[in-house]
């Protein structure tokens, strides 16, 4: 069979206009099963907009978007839960899908927040909330996972662990991931394909290619191309989310 069968979503020269101004234009990319595509770029470069085009949230777009799956998991950049809505983590997990209790527990433990299951969503910290969002998205066992800055507000050790988890999930579920991140360090090491945006695609390719591209250097500075070396140091213990210390 042709490789087309592996494509989950494909953007062809896509763009989105608001008040006669393009937020992003001329984006072509495709996300395949088991691959991680990362969007990078400065604030306002159209990363989230591109993700929303791919997800079909924006309907009146320029260009084309072809989506080949309905099993989608989405972690939006921002969600605010109003006080008027009493909702626990457990209620939030079944928001768009009926997921068994075991699956919920499994997903929450994977992102390290099982102990928050019966907490009110409004009382979580930023990092805790991100972990819940990620758990909800993966518990659906999606074919396409769209993660818009999934680790914002997560502590540094947690950040690395979550990126490793995302990598593991893409392999286990064989799902395609469209990832948006500011964090060049960790992302560049775990990604198959990088798209660097700045209102348009300024360069794309493998992480190594992009890091050496002169447009990328112009956008992020010379220093950024050196970040390919993965940050690594060893701890002799880990802090669990319940606040205990565990020796390795």
């Amino acid at each position: 069979m042709s490789s087309n069968n592996n494509i989950l979503v494909k953007l062809k020269n896509a763009g989105y206009q608001l008040n006669n101004k393009f937020l992003v234009e001329g984006v072509s990319l495709e996300v395949k099963k088991g691959k991680i595509v990362t969007l990078i770029g400065p604030n306002g470069s159209g990363k989230s907009t591109t993700a929303k085009i791919a997800l079909g949230i924006y309907k009146k777009i320029v260009g084309e978007v072809e989506k080949y799956t309905d099993k989608v998991g989405y972690v939006p950049q921002k969600i605010s839960i109003d006080w008027t809505l009493p909702i626990r983590v457990n209620d939030f997990m079944v928001l768009t899908d009926d997921i068994s209790s075991e699956e919920i527990d499994k997903a929450l433990s994977l992102t390290g927040v099982l102990h928050l299951k019966n907490k009110n969503l409004g009382n979580l910290s930023g990092g805790e909330f991100q972990r819940v969002l990620l758990a909800r998205a993966i518990s659906k066992k999606p074919e396409l996972l769209v993660l818009d800055e999934p680790v914002q507000g997560v502590d540094f050790t947690g950040e690395i662990a979550l990126y490793q988890l995302i990598k593991k999930i893409s392999e286990e579920l064989n799902c395609g991931i469209l990832l948006i991140s500011h964090d060049l360090h960790t992302v560049m090491s775990a990604t198959d394909h990088v798209v660097c945006l700045n209102g348009h695609v300024c360069c794309s390719g493998s992480p190594t290619d992009v890091a050496h591209n002169h447009e990328y250097k112009a956008l992020f500075g010379e220093q950024a191309s050196k970040t390919l070396t993965i940050y690594e140091h060893k701890h002799d213990h880990v802090h669990t989310n319940e606040g205990d210390i565990k020796k390795n």
């Binding site: 997800l55 989608v72 939006p76 809505l85 009493p86 768009t96």
Partner: protein, 267 residues
């Protein structure tokens, strides 16, 4: 059993409370209380239409309210006026037009007070049928759209991205709002309907920790308000609609005690 006007009133109120409970929660969650008010104000126009063309009142109110909701959606697309200004425009102009039309229908004697504040004691067996059958349909439809409506209440984009069609759910919910106003106008009147939607739901929020719990307490609150309000209106000879709303206010104030308790224990 339904020969007694008081029993009919009681059953009408109970039927309405079962529907306003869950719908009221969405009104509070989605910040639609002024929207509900606008639809309720336009109900007067619906009532005059019913008298003019010999329609059933509930049916006519439903049609006019749904129409006003449609006009609102169109206006929102066409103009840049803020939402609350558009709502005020529609609420007061439809109320005014309704009153003007009443002026022309001088050959019919209108019970204006009954229209504005409800006349639950004049509920007929036909009204009861409309409330219970209409109410059952509303609840079944709400159950069907529950998942996408609730998900889009939490986050529109999440619901859209994961294939739940929030726009359709919103449109259907708007029709349900028109329907609930149509079936409850006789009970509390068009000035007090939104109170019946919001106050029990607001009370429920103070004592709930999950969405379904809030819906449950909202229904219980509505039922208690109806029973308490009706019996006290019988006892003190006050008008029934305002008595029901006053009873729901009393329950809301009680729920504030509970919120104070939990605030002290927070985390």
């Amino acid at each position: 059993m339904f020969d007694d006007f008081f029993i009919r009133a009681l059953f009408a109120g109970i039927g309405v409370a079962f529907v306003t409970g869950p719908l009221g929660c969405f009104v509070v969650w989605r910040r639609l209380s002024y929207f509900g008010d606008t639809l309720a104000h336009s109900a007067l126009l619906g009532v005059t239409m019913a008298y003019s063309f010999q329609f059933n009142i509930a049916f006519s109110v439903f049609i006019i309210s749904a129409l006003i909701a449609l006009i609102l959606i169109q206006l929102q697309k066409k103009t840049n006026l803020p939402g609350d200004a558009l709502l005020g425009l529609l609420a007061h102009s439809s109320l005014a037009v309704g009153l003007v039309v009443i002026g022309f229908l001088s050959f019919i004697r209108f019970d204006i007070m009954g229209l504005l504040f409800g006349d639950i004691l004049a509920v007929t067996v036909d009204d009861l049928l409309i409330i219970w059958i209409g109410g059952a349909i509303i609840l079944v439809v709400l159950k069907l759209i529950w998942k996408s409506l609730f998900a889009s209440t939490v986050n529109y984009e999440l619901a859209e991205a994961e294939g739940l069609n929030p726009d359709r759910a919103k449109a259907i919910f708007t029709i349900l709002m028109a329907a609930v106003i149509a079936i409850s106008i006789k009970m509390v009147g068009l000035l007090l309907i939104t109170g019946m939607l919001i106050i029990p739901a607001a009370m429920a929020r103070n004592v709930s920790t999950s969405p379904l719990q809030m819906v449950f307490y909202s229904i219980i609150g509505g039922l208690l308000s109806v029973i308490l309000g009706l019996y006290s209106s019988l006892e003190f000879n006050t008008s029934s609609g305002p008595s029901i709303i006053a009873a729901s206010l009393f329950l809301f104030i009680l729920s504030l005690l509970k919120i104070k308790q939990t605030a002290g224990l927070k985390n």
